[in-house]
């Protein structure tokens, strides 16, 4: 329900620019939005809880800090905001509950198992739900491919801008992947040993790739492309 098979969206803000986006995020509706917000919220909460659990584990381990002195009003002034916030969180019912949970859990599960499990959970929680890849064509300037990153922490997307002068050709290529044939769009860049694959993670279906190819040609070189009947134009 949250993801669909990759589909194409074309946006043409002006006659000289076009953006082709392939994504697995379905068109936004109200229930979808609500559920997505709920998921993000729960992700944030869960990762916060896991981080707190990790902190509690560290604090109770022999490597942890020496037990803090009783919070006197004079000492609280010297603490930084983060430390005060952390103290406040740890003193709250949630923090106390977590600390007791942590002691209880650590009795059952030794920390050398619990910590990798927590890290794995954090890794899973920071992964992006959807993949979105796009190709932006600006006539007279160039092409920009962008592909969303796996992790939420790594930033939004990796992009690559290719000036028009450097573009030798934009072609559709085919390749075997396992037991299937995949068609993919490729930009041949002058003076580079590797070609640039557009939509490298999703590798959409042949008809989508063909539409994008047609659109890119039309936008970049200002001319219509004849039908693709088995052979190139």
């Amino acid at each position: 329900m949250l993801t669909t098979s990759p589909y194409l969206r074309i946006r043409r803000p002006s006659p000289t620019a076009a953006e082709f986006t392939v994504s697995t995020l379905p068109p936004p509706t109200v229930p979808l939005r609500l559920s997505l917000y709920a998921i993000y919220l729960s992700q944030g909460l869960l990762s916060g809880l896991i981080l707190l659990f990790l902190y509690a584990t560290w604090a109770q381990s022999p490597y942890g800090p020496s037990p803090p002195p009783p919070p006197a009003p004079s000492s609280s002034a010297t603490l930084s905001i983060q430390q005060r916030l952390l103290h406040a969180v740890l003193a709250s019912p949630v923090g106390v509950l977590l600390a007791t949970r942590a002691t209880a859990a650590l009795v059952v599960l030794p920390p050398r198992l619990a910590v990798p499990a927590c890290l794995a959970a954090l890794y899973a929680l920071t992964r992006r739900l959807h993949v979105e890849e796009s190709l932006l064509v600006l006539r007279g300037l160039g092409i920009q491919t962008s592909s969303s990153k796996d992790s939420l922490l790594a930033g939004r997307a990796t992009t690559r801008f290719i000036p028009t002068e450097k573009i030798l050709d934009v072609v559709i290529n085919e390749a075997f992947r396992g037991f299937e044939v995949r068609y993919y769009l490729v930009v041949v860049v002058e003076g580079e040993p590797d070609v640039v694959v557009v939509f490298p993670r999703l590798l959409p279906r042949a008809d989508v790739v063909e539409r994008v190819w047609r659109g890119v040609r039309e936008c970049l070189y200002e001319r219509k492309v004849a039908r693709l009947d088995g052979k190139a134009v």
């Binding site: 000289t16 932006l136 007279g140 990796t158 992009t159 028009t164 041949v188 040993p193 190139a232």
Partner: protein, 728 residues
């Protein structure tokens, strides 16, 4: 007014008129007289004439004068005549050469009121404090693409480029390095072959494009546009400085009192400037000459040392720097030292040009990067050195104990284990006894040598610690050399046993051919059948059997030493790598985390979702360097190591007892050499380059060194608001 006072005033006026009635009648008579003689009509005529003149002459003239003075026309005229580019610090022609335009033009106005646009092709941009994107319109254009960018500040060495910075010197000739014909390394050959194959494929893919699109002038302009963006900051400052020259108003000279005030306020600056000028004129050349002479003396010493390090007995034999890690380290430092003056000269020449010329930025980064690297190395080295010097005794004890334990006692015990039928293997006891005794005797001799060295070890460690004031990589290199010197016996054992094993294997192979009645033909490089006599066959077979039965004993000894050597060598290699990583991780962190040298690609980000007009607004953003690209050279080094040691060739060498070639140091250290030129500059070259540097000019000669200080606020003239409006 109070009604009571009004009443009082009225009573007073009425009383006055009745008292002076004759004055009123006189006035009335005068009016009648003037009307009769036509005075009134003449006055009316004059009034009418003046108002018509005012309407038809003065108002248009004033209007024209106003428009000339403040509107963009004035700016355009000023740009055409070059008034706005006056007082430039560097030649103005350079701007036009790099930006690809013959002159500057007014493209449009920002936030102009309607009706001030003279030219329909002018662009009008309207910014709004609430919106992040400006609204851009143009009456002539059918569609508009807007790309926003943060103006790069050349003073902070920010610039936009289409390609990432390449910090390694690309024009370097790999093979001519070191000045003598070095034997080509196998790995390098392989890499070059791969590169050739890739180039071949690239050529092929070029032939596959069906329709070749000739790039239009728009496409070709991108590089120039990028240059123009890079120039924007500096040009803006230059224009702002000359804004007061726009328009017909003559600049009023300062009055006497203003002059007095100005002199009084700038008195201290003038005095300081005068002292500074005297220093520059009289003291500076002496200091400079002395510095150049010391630099050249250092260079001479470096040249002599480098000659020693690179000296080879024969063209094919290894030089000192190939054998010892310390020599290599010294060589790298000396080469860096030889390169610094040249780099500095290059950077000084950069000062004579505009800041926006971006071609020399990689040099800047390379220069300060290597300085920073050496400084860090020295800082870490001082910490490490003091620690080592303080604990020299303990470290010497530890090293002695470890060496004794692993290179002598462990070896002795393993040899005696091999001598007494190890693991139930029934070896030839006579041969085992002979080999074992031989090796044990050499080990005994070596251990006595090591014992004479033992009291000297604290001094050596102290020396190593002391050497670390020349950088942390120096003690590590020295330690590595010391370790390889102290384990020399294992290396020689390995060589001896490998040689014996290899001989035996080759003899066995040829005897096996004889056993089969065949023979290896050297001339044809193949195996031919051969008719042996009976006695030949008999002796051959007996020898074959003998050698075959002796083989396991030799194999066992060979394996023992190969494994021991492997352990030691890997340990050495490990220290090497760590050392390499240690010094170069600093280099990468320094070259990429410094804010003025951040790398900027062109990245276009869509901002049009926010923006609902017909034009597209795109935001240009810097692309951070990928993590893998940052550590590309480490990956390359790792790959080379892996390729060299985990290859079937090495395994084959090990199995047949041939000598395993160690990886060439040049491959391992290519990371550090990549920042250095292939050929070091000669002494005369450095002398000439240093002398060619322009002498520092006294500040007083600069016409506007002062002008920038006093009357300008932030480099732009605040009071002239009219003219700035047109420019922004």
């Amino acid at each position: 007014m109070h009604p009571f006072s009004v009443l009082t005033l009225a009573i007073f006026v009425a009383g006055y008129i009745t008292a002076r009635w004759d004055l009123v009648t006189r006035l009335y008579e005068l009016a009648l007289f003037a009307w009769d003689n036509g005075v009134i009509s003449r006055i009316a005529l004059g009034c009418a004439f003046w108002s018509v003149t005012f309407l038809f002459l003065f108002i248009p003239v004033r209007h024209i004068a106003l428009s000339e003075a403040e509107l963009p026309r004035g700016v355009e005229n000023a740009l055409k005549t070059g008034i706005l580019l006056r007082n430039a610090r560097n030649p103005v022609a350079r701007i036009f050469e790099l930006c690809g335009q013959a002159s500057m033009h007014v493209l449009g106005l920002t936030n102009a009121t309607l009706g001030t646009l003279f030219d329909p092709s002018w662009v009008q941009a309207i910014t709004h404090p609430a919106k992040s994107l400006p609204r851009v319109t143009c009456t002539k254009a059918s569609s508009i693409q807007t790309i926003l960018f943060d103006r790069p500040n050349p003073r902070r060495m920010q610039y936009i480029s289409l390609n990432p910075i390449a910090l390694s010197l690309s024009d370097k000739n790999q093979t001519s390095y070191g000045g003598s014909p070095e034997p080509e390394v196998e790995d390098e050959k392989q890499e070059q072959k791969n590169k050739r194959n890739a180039n071949h494929l690239v050529e092929k893919i070029k032939q596959h494009s069906v329709i070749r699109h000739l790039p239009s002038s728009k496409d070709k302009a991108l590089a120039k546009i990028v240059n123009q963006i890079n120039w924007a900051w500096e040009l803006e400052h230059l224009l702002q400085k000359n804004v007061s020259l726009i328009g017909p108003r003559p600049k009023r000279t300062l009055s006497v009192s203003e002059r007095v005030v100005e002199h009084a306020t700038t008195m201290r600056d003038t005095a300081v400037l005068w002292v500074w000028d005297m220093i520059i004129i009289y003291v500076f050349p002496v200091v400079r000459r002395a510095f150049i002479i010391t630099l050249l003396a250092h260079r001479l010493i470096a040249e002599a040392l480098l000659l020693v390090l690179e000296w080879r007995l024969r063209p094919t034999s290894p030089a000192l720097k190939d054998i010892s890690a310390t020599a290599q380290q010294v060589e790298i430092r000396l080469l860096q030292f030889c390169y610094w003056p040249m780099q500095y000269v290059k950077l000084r020449l950069r000062k004579n040009d505009w800041d926006s010329v971006t071609t020399s930025h990689p040099d800047y980064i390379r220069f300060y990067n290597s300085l920073w690297l050496v400084a860090n190395d020295v800082i870490i080295g001082i910490a490490l050195g003091t620690y080592i010097i303080e604990n020299a005794e303990w470290a010497a004890d530890m090293i002695n104990m470890l060496l004794d334990k692993y290179t002598i006692t462990a070896l002795q015990s393993s040899i005696s284990w091999l001598m007494g039928w190890p693991a139930g293997l029934k070896l030839n006891s006579e041969l085992a006894l002979f080999l074992g005794d031989l090796f044990l005797w050499v080990i005994d001799y070596w251990s006595s040598c090591a014992q004479t060295l033992e009291p000297l070890l604290p001094q050596i460690i102290w020396f190593i610690g002391f050497s670390s004031f020349a950088g942390a990589s120096m003690p590590i290199a020295l330690l590595s050399d010391l370790l390889s010197a102290l384990t020399l016996h294992i290396y020689s054992f390995y060589l001896a046993s490998a040689r014996i094993f290899h001989w035996q294997l080759t003899i066995l192979l040829s005897l096996f051919q004889l056993f089969r009645g065949k023979k290896y033909n050297v001339l044809r490089n193949r195996v031919d059948s051969c008719d042996y006599d009976l006695d030949q066959l008999l002796v051959g077979t007996i020898l074959f059997t003998l050698l075959f039965f002796l083989l396991p004993t030799v194999i066992v000894f060979y394996l023992n030493f190969a494994l021991a050597l492997g352990g030691i060598r890997f340990e050495l290699r490990d220290t090497h790598n760590r050392h390499n990583f240690n010094s170069t991780s600093i280099s990468s962190s320094s070259s990429f985390s410094l804010s003025p040298t951040s790398l900027i690609h062109l990245k276009v980000m869509q901002g049009a979702a926010v923006y609902r007009y017909r034009s597209v607004a795109n935001m240009m953003q810097p692309v951070p360097l990928e993590f893998s690209a940052m550590f590309h050279q480490y990956f390359q080094m790792g790959n080379r190591l892996r390729k060299h040691y985990l290859s079937p060739g090495v395994l084959f060498c090990l199995v047949t007892g041939r000598f395993v070639p160690p990886i060439h140091r040049k491959n391992l250290y290519s990371l550090q050499y990549s920042m250095l030129p292939g050929r070091r500059a000669g002494i005369m070259e450095i002398w000439e380059a240093l002398n060619s540097l322009p002498a520092k000019k006294p500040m007083g000669l600069h016409p506007y060194a002062l002008a920038t200080n006093a009357p300008m606020l932030n480099g732009r003239r605040q009071m002239n608001g009219r003219a700035t409006r047109g420019l922004r």
